[in-house]
């Protein structure tokens, strides 16, 4: 079962603060992409990314294994995005950004597919990114999103079905 309200991994000594900074840089593109996946707006995504970086450095002492950094950072970012009601409300109210979809240069991906993914709820989009793209387990995805594993399975099923519809 996910433990959405904790960022700590108590099984080993903390990673040095400076190393956390390096890990943030290493996973920066992933974090910004995840932020955009959630917000569907690059300006908001950069804002969220910045909040995540600051939160990660504030909580650097809670990361025990560099190997789990990506999941840990994803957990911080999704928590930053979803835990605060006002942020969720703001993000939801902003989507879908049709103009940005048409204008962001992703010509290699069909507009249908972009639109289909953009039309999914933010957590479902994030679940697709974390599980399908990044290879997080269902439990890891659930922990990152602060929901149950069963919820993630449902989100994935609906997300995959929606994508399947548009590529059929």
């Amino acid at each position: 079962m996910a433990k959405p309200d904790t960022l700590a991994d108590d099984s080993a000594p903390a990673v040095a603060t400076l190393d956390v900074g390096a890990l943030v840089v290493q996973h920066g593109a992933f974090l910004l992409a995840l932020a955009h996946t959630i917000t569907r707006n690059w300006s908001d995504a950069e804002d969220l990314y910045q909040s995540t970086v600051e939160a990660a450095l504030r909580n650097a002492g809670q990361l025990r294994h560099p190997d789990s950094a990506r999941a840990w950072l994803a957990r911080i970012e999704t928590r930053e995005a979803f835990r605060l009601g006002r942020r969720l409300k703001r993000f939801v109210s902003l989507e879908p950004h049709v103009g940005e979809l048409l204008d962001d240069g992703n010509m290699g991906t069909s507009i249908d597919l972009q639109g289909a993914i953009a039309s999914l709820p933010p957590k479902t989009r994030a679940a697709l990114l974390l599980h399908v793209y990044c290879g997080f387990s269902v439990d890891e995805t659930a922990a990152a999103l602060g929901v149950s594993a069963n919820t993630v399975k449902t989100q994935l099923r609906k997300g995959l079905a929606r994508v399947r519809e548009v590529i059929a």
């Binding site: 593109a29 910004l32 992409a33 707006n41 910045q50 991906t109 697709l128």
Partner: protein, 213 residues
């Protein structure tokens, strides 16, 4: 698309991966993208959605969140200042030379950063409410939306403000290599040039500081 074809799980996953490949590529390019060089009059006109993390950091950390009202003798603040000092402004000769940006300390150390105090002085030619742009080493960093709430009008018509960047913010940036957001080398070791530009791209304040590891 083609209603006769039922995509396999592999095809579906592949489509999703292709989509996120492009998201990651776009994110990577945005993180790597240096701020647009300035000295161009249209620097202030960039759409907000292309503003980089550097902009967010500079705007929030340097100005909007950290401006401290200067208590220089004779100073008044913001809109009230603009009105109450109208007569003195008329009496004073209009200055157009760039004002100084002073840094205390003038050398900022990433290994043990103190709270860092910056004092900006703008010439009297700057009009109240004008959109100002901050640059570091020619990189556009953002428009300090809240600046005019804090700038203090001086008796000679110039503007002044003192603000502090707290040590924790500096440590955060230093931990990320000293490069803020989209490539602004704010705390990269070396000498850096910070400028404030008016809407026409003219330099209205300038100062130099040094960053060390």
């Amino acid at each position: 698309m083609n209603g006769d074809h039922v995509p396999s799980d592999e095809e579906t996953v592949e489509a999703i991966r292709g989509y996120f490949d492009q998201e990651i590529d776009e994110a990577r390019s945005r993180l790597a993208m240096p701020r647009r060089p300035v000295r161009e009059p249209a620097a202030h006109a960039l759409p907000k959605r292309v503003a980089s993390l550097a902009g967010i950091l500079i705007v929030l950390a340097l100005l909007a969140a950290a401006w401290r009202i200067s208590s220089l003798p004779g100073g008044t603040v913001g809109p009230a200042a603009a009105e109450s000092t109208a007569s003195s402004e008329a009496a004073a000769s209009v200055q157009s030379e760039p004002g100084p940006i002073t840094f205390s300390p003038s050398t900022i150390s990433c290994s043990n950063p103190p709270d860092w105090t910056l004092t900006v002085r703008l010439p009297s030619s700057v009009q109240y409410g004008q959109t100002l742009t901050v640059t570091v080493d020619g990189y556009w960093t953002g428009e300090p939306d809240g600046a005019w709430d804090y700038l203090v009008r001086q008796s000679d018509g110039s503007w002044s403000a003192t603000f502090t960047i707290d040590a924790a913010s500096i440590r955060t940036s230093c931990a990320l290599g000293g490069v803020i957001g989209g490539g602004v080398p704010m705390y990269v070791p070396g000498t850096h040039d910070m400028r404030v530009l008016d809407p026409s791209g003219r330099v209205v304040a300038e100062g130099t500081y040094t960053a060390v590891p």
